[in-house]
C-alpha cells in the first residue's frame, strides 16, 4: 500500500519512540515530541508502540491513500477531513482506497500523530525510524516530508481489521467509540509545567530562584524540536560557574549566558555545557511539546520522588488503556 504526499505540511516527519543506545556515537534519541500521543495512535490501529508514524506540526499534510487503510490521529486537535468529510481523532478510522486525507491545521496544541495500520514501511537507521532533522539522520535521509513523496505501508498488518465499514460521507468511522483525549492532551497554557530542581539550581541568584517558580515565561519563536527557549525574567547565576560539558536529556532546562533558559526537547544533543537549572518532569514533557511559540509557561516545583511516582502511575494507566484498546480492536 502506498501513501502519496500531495502536500507535506509545515514540518511532517517520520518518528517512533526514539533512537536509543547511540549516544556514544554522538547520535541523540530524536523520536516523537509527544510520546504518549504516538503510543496511543499506534495502539488505535493495532500497531506495536514503536511503529513508524507521522509527526505533524501545526499545519498538516494532504495525503492520498492508493488502497483502503485504517488510520488514527492523536495529539493536537485538528480539523481532519477524508474526501471532504470530517473524521474523528483518538479512534481508528477506515479510509477508502483513493481517499484524500486533509489533515488540516491544529486548532489546539502543536503536534499531532498519524498512525496507519501496519506502520509506515521506512528504513530503520541505527535501530530507529525516527527522523533527526538536524543530524540529517533517519528515514528519507533524515529530512521532513516533501510534496510528492511516496510512503509505503507495511504489508503484514495491512489487511483490513475485522468488520470494517468503509468511510463515505459524514463522520462514519467503522467503530463508534473514541478515546477521551482529556487525560492525554493538555495544551492549556494556563496549566503549570512541573519542574524538578537541576544540579545547578542552587547556583542561581536568590531573585532567579524565586522567579523561576513564580513568574511567567513565553516560548520564543525560534523554539523547535531541539529546544524551547523561554522569554521572561532574565535568570542569572550568583557567581560564574566553570563547567565542562556533561550529558543532558529530554527536558533538561539549561541556562545559557544570555539568561533565557532553554528546555531541551526530543531532538536535543547528547551533551551540553550550560548550567542545568531544572528538569521538566517526564509526565509533563508531552504537555510542553503541545505548546506553541508565544504560549505562556509557568513552572511549578515537584520533587524527584513525587515526579517519578506520578510517572509510574501514568505508565500503568497508559498500559491499561492500551490493553483495553487491543481488546476492543479484536472483539
Amino acid at each position: 500500500m502506498k501513501v502519496r504526499v500531495a502536500k507535506a505540511g509545515l514540518l511532517t516527519t517520520l518518528q517512533d519512540r526514539g533512537r536509543d543506545g547511540c549516544a556514544m556515537l554522538g547520535v541523540g534519541r530524536a523520536g516523537a515530541m509527544d510520546d504518549v500521543a504516538l503510543r496511543l495512535a499506534n495502539a488505535l490501529v493495532g500497531n506495536e508502540a514503536g511503529a513508524a508514524v507521522l509527526e505533524i506540526t501545526l499545519i498538516g499534510p494532504r495525503l492520498r491513500f492508493d488502497t483502503a487503510a485504517t488510520i488514527a490521529l492523536t495529539g493536537a486537535e485538528l480539523g481532519a477531513h477524508a474526501d471532504g468529510a470530517e473524521i474523528g481523532m483518538w479512534r481508528p478510522v477506515d479510509v477508502a482506497g483513493g481517499a484524500v486525507l486533509d489533515v488540516g491545521t491544529a486548532r489546539r496544541g502543536a503536534r499531532a500523530y498519524l498512525a496507519v495500520r501496519g506502520g509506515f514501511d521506512v528504513a530503520s537507521v541505527l535501530g530507529s525510524f525516527s527522523t533527526d532533522v538536524n543530524a540529517g539522520l533517519g528515514p528519507l535521509d533524515g529530512r521532513a516530508l516533501r510534496d510528492g513523496d511516496e510512503l509505503l505501508v507495511r504489508g503484514e498488518l495491512g489487511a483490513r481489521p475485522p468488520s470494517p465499514q468503509p468511510l463515505s460521507r459524514g463522520e462514519r468511522g467503522f467503530r463508534n467509540w473514541s478515546l477521551d483525549p482529556r487525560p492525554w492532551l493538555d495544551a492549556d497554557a494556563g496549566h503549570p509545567i512541573r519542574l524538578i530542581r537541576g544540579a545547578h539550581f542552587d547556583a542561581l541568584d536568590a531573585r532567579s530562584r524565586a522567579a523561576i517558580f513564580s513568574e511567567e515565561f513565553h516560548i520564543t519563536s525560534d523554539s523547535n524540536r531541539v529546544g524551547f527557549r523561554f522569554d521572561g525574567p532574565r535568570l542569572a547565576l550568583a557567581a560564574p560557574l566553570e563547567l565542562v560539558s556533561e550529558p543532558v536529556t529530554y527536558g533538561t532546562l539549561q541556562l545559557p549566558p544570555g539568561g533565557q533558559p532553554i528546555a531541551l526537547m526530543a531532538e536535543h544533543p547528547t551533551i551540553g555545557g550550560y548550567p542545568r537549572i531544572g528538569q521538566v518532569a517526564a509526565i509533563d514533557l508531552q504537555r510542553l511539546a503541545q505548546r506553541r511559540p508565544g504560549d505562556a509557561v509557568r513552572f511549578e516545583e515537584i520533587d524527584l520522588d513525587a515526579a517519578q511516582t506520578r510517572y509510574l502511575e501514568r505508565e500503568r494507566e497508559l498500559a491499561r488503556l492500551i490493553a483495553t484498546i487491543g481488546e476492543r480492536l479484536t472483539a
Binding site: 536509543d20 549516544a23 556515537l25 565542562v244 533538561t252 528538569q279 521538566v280 524527584l304 517519578q308 510517572y311
Partner: protein
Amino acid sequence: MKAGAGAGDDPAIEPLGETALLLRFGTSIDTALNARVHEASQMLRSAHLPGILDIVPAYATLALRYEPSQWTDGHETSPWRNIAAAVRAIFRTPPAGTTSEPAIVDVPVCYGGEFGPDLDALASHAGLDAAEIIARHSAADYQVAMIGFAPGFPYLLGLDPALHMPRRANPRTRVPAGSVAVGGAQTGIYPSALPGGWQLIGRTPAVLFDAQRMPPCLLAPGDRVRFVAIDAAEFAERSRA
C-alpha cells in the same frame, strides 16, 4: 589497563531527572579522569542492567538513561534509588575480566592550503611556522574524550599546549566534512558539513561517520588517535577509494 583494575573511588551518583542518572568522576577535562569514564562505561555495558536505554559518556561524567518502570522492585523505595544502588554495587565489585585495550587509530590529514584555511592564523597565534604546527599536531597521541555535537564528532584530548587557540569570533556557517580543527585546548574532526567555530588546519579523507556502516563511527570514546600528514595527491587518492 591491567586486569581487574577497578574504577578507583566510587563515582558520585546524581539524578538527571526521573529517567537518567549522572555518574560523576570529577569536574574537569583531564585524560585520566576521562579514561575512568570509558572504563565505567564498559563495566556498565557488560553488567547488562535491565531497562537501560542508553549510556552517554562525557569528559568527567557519564549518564545512564533508564526506564523507571523496570526499577520498581528492590530494597529501596523508588526506581532511581534502586538503580543507583545497583550501579554502586557494580563499582564495589571489581570487573572479572580484563578491560579491553583502547584501539589506536591513524587518521590521515592533508594540512593547510584550501583544506586548512586557519593554519597560518594558528601559526602566528602560536609564534611557530606552519611546518612546526603540522609536526606538533601529528606528533601527539590523542584520546577520544567523547563524541558529541554532531554524530561522529570526536573531542580529542592531548593537544600540544603551544597549539591551543580560541575559537573564531565568527563561526563559519559551513565547515566541510573531514575538517581537522583546533578549538581551545582540544582538537577535533568535523564528520559532516556543519556550522562551526573551530580553527581549521587540515582535512582528512577518512569517513568519520556513516550510519549504514558497522560500526558507524571511525572512532569510539576512549580510542587513541594519531594524525598522519599526507599530501594533496594522497588525499585525492584516498578520497576516491
